[in-house]
Amino acid sequence: MSLLLAASILFNFLFGHLIQNTVNERSRKKIAVLGIVSNLLLLGFFKYTLFAVDLVIDVYSFFSNSISIWRPEILLPVGISFYTFHNISYLVEIYKKNISASKDLVTFSVYDIFFPLLLAGPIERPNSLLPQLDSNRRITKEGLYKGFSIFVWGIFLKTVIADSLAKFVDTSLSQSGNLTDGILWIIAPAFAFQVYADFSGYSNCARGLAYVMGFQLMNNFQRPFFATNPVQFWQKWHISLSSWLRDYVYIPLGGNRSGFLKQNFNILIVWILGGLWHGATYGYLVWGIYLGFCIVIYNLFKKFLIPSNNLILEPILKYTGLFLTFFSFSFGLLLFRVSNSEVLVIYIKNIFSFSAETLQWSFVILYFLPILIFDYWQEKLNTKETDWRLKEMPIIFWSVFFFGFLIFCLLSPFAKQEFFYFQF
């Protein structure tokens, strides 16, 4: 695997220079395409070969033909989804002449596999990270404290909130046949907060570490659960991936420049790819299609049904949008756990049923509170990234740190629970 990583680094480093040094525009394009396709093939081989084999088997089975295909044992290299996207954006940006090819192989290697973000992002852009690697960075006292504050918040999110919710979500969804009526209205939000706490926790740890070392990584989450529509949600959730897909897939496909129909078709393509990026299973494929349709439906509503600039309707639409955006995302996550159509039917029936017994689980909301309070505070401050206002109001961070550390030591389940996004 290390050899593969080294080969990938060397290949992209050389191709970067090749694109830069080629004068003929057509040749440049060919080299760039070859580089991008090679990266996609590498990712495709490791991540999608087995899915493709299963797909062929299933299609044959559907037409009542049995087929026997050798199913190879393929291990997914750590972080391949993340560093492949790093490499593609590197080659594209050189091709577009937005950046120069890195002169130093070591610098490029660090960009490609920068350890805080290798396993689960953010998917950093070369325009931002490479100049930082080339410059004379200074480790400042402010950077240290800021990094520390972001890092410990990430640890708290992961160990205290995400891991606690994970056990609840896993246990409850593993017994789909015995779910209390309507309990998915609690499990699905718990799943959403689990993934949020887990993934934003990791991103915070990565960004905190980077700050300590004098780097600034892009913010990956900006209070997504305060989004009032799906488009806004994806501008606030896994920002590095959604902006990557926007810049390198959606816009090259034509974006919104070719009419409403084509725009929404492009959106569907982007989200199918987004779903498959997360994993090569039918579940992720369906999830991607579902997310795409959520955005398409929103676009249809916006274009044909929602009146613009209506002062009376605006607050109602805002809170309805907030509710619908959150729950459409939360229920969508359940698709990860749908193993067959029977489970899907059980889930749908559960959502449209109610039992008073479900109310006894409403205490689960208490586990969301730290995130909700913090994000509400950040929303009020209108911050661009996790900001504890260390200079202006140090007492807030240190008070939270004091109580948070006591809670962490006493209650955090230290049994190792892997980061949710490591699987991608």
Binding site: L165, F168, S172, W398, F405, L406, P413
Partner: protein, 354 residues
Amino acid sequence: MKLKYFLICFFAIIVSMNVSYKYFVRFTEVSSYLWYENRHKKLNFYAEVLVLGDSQLLSGISAATIAELESISPEKVVFMVRPSEQPEGMLDQYLTYKSSFPNLRKIYLNLSPISLSKNSVTDAHKELFFSFGTLQMHQLTDSFLRKAYFSNNHDLLWKILIEVFPYLGLNQNFSSLFGIVPSSATILGEEMNYSDHFLQKTPSISIIKTRLAQNEFLKVHFESKEYWTWKDFGIEHKLGEKDSLPKGSSLAFLKKRNLSIQLIEKLKMETEADHIDIICLDLPFSPELESDITANNIRFILNDEIAKFGFKRVIRVGPKILDHSDYFTDFTHLNAKGRDALKTYLLKNKVKSI
């Protein structure tokens, strides 16, 4: 942003953890609480006999019985008995407390298949040591203790962190209660009526209430007694006929742990140098477990190992002496009736054995 905030905050955290620790310990499960109590025991400077062992000894014998065997007053017998005790714990306690007892002349320790084999109790002991034991220099300088407790730097770092932030030592007791659903069928000693088929909440409040009541009971109990019938919180349990032992249960004790033997040898060497005799107590388990142990040839292996240590005396109470389930509270612990029967036997055979 100044360094002073950082330092003040950490200082405040450490102080508040240390101040509030004793209040939280009251909500821990029984073994944890007994380790905590053992650590805070008042030490009698004039003690002549030290008793080391696990819950089998805690449940099976009293200081008064030892005192009668030794013809000394019970105050001169110090009970440093802890649940899930292992040879490393015995050696560690001896090295820790020997300077506190200048008149010490004899150690009673109990050895059983549990203490000389590699089994789940070995891991439980290590966890209890990390959470409630004290970090001492000899644990690092003695190669056997270092191997038992700090086989890697991560373990040592974890223990240091627990010493600095004692809440970390309480984590295992509390984190499972904080879970929305129980993570396993057992929450540190609390048997749960847990089913995979129905979603259940962690009964945190009832567990906390039970633990508090049990520990309050123990606190009052240990004010006047040093022994305690295992799991007796006012109502004594008897091993019922319905309690059946699965065949081959004792196979868990089959894997000999060489480190345990080395640790006992080291303890013997240390005590010999200090002119202290060791009396080994080999107490029986319930007849059902003893039959299983005999069937798997484990008793023979244990006797062989104990004989090799060359203790001053070995008091072996064979299974024939306590041959009825009525004497036991479960498969490993004697109840009050069993304790009385053992006392009668030991005193009757005092001259023969001592």
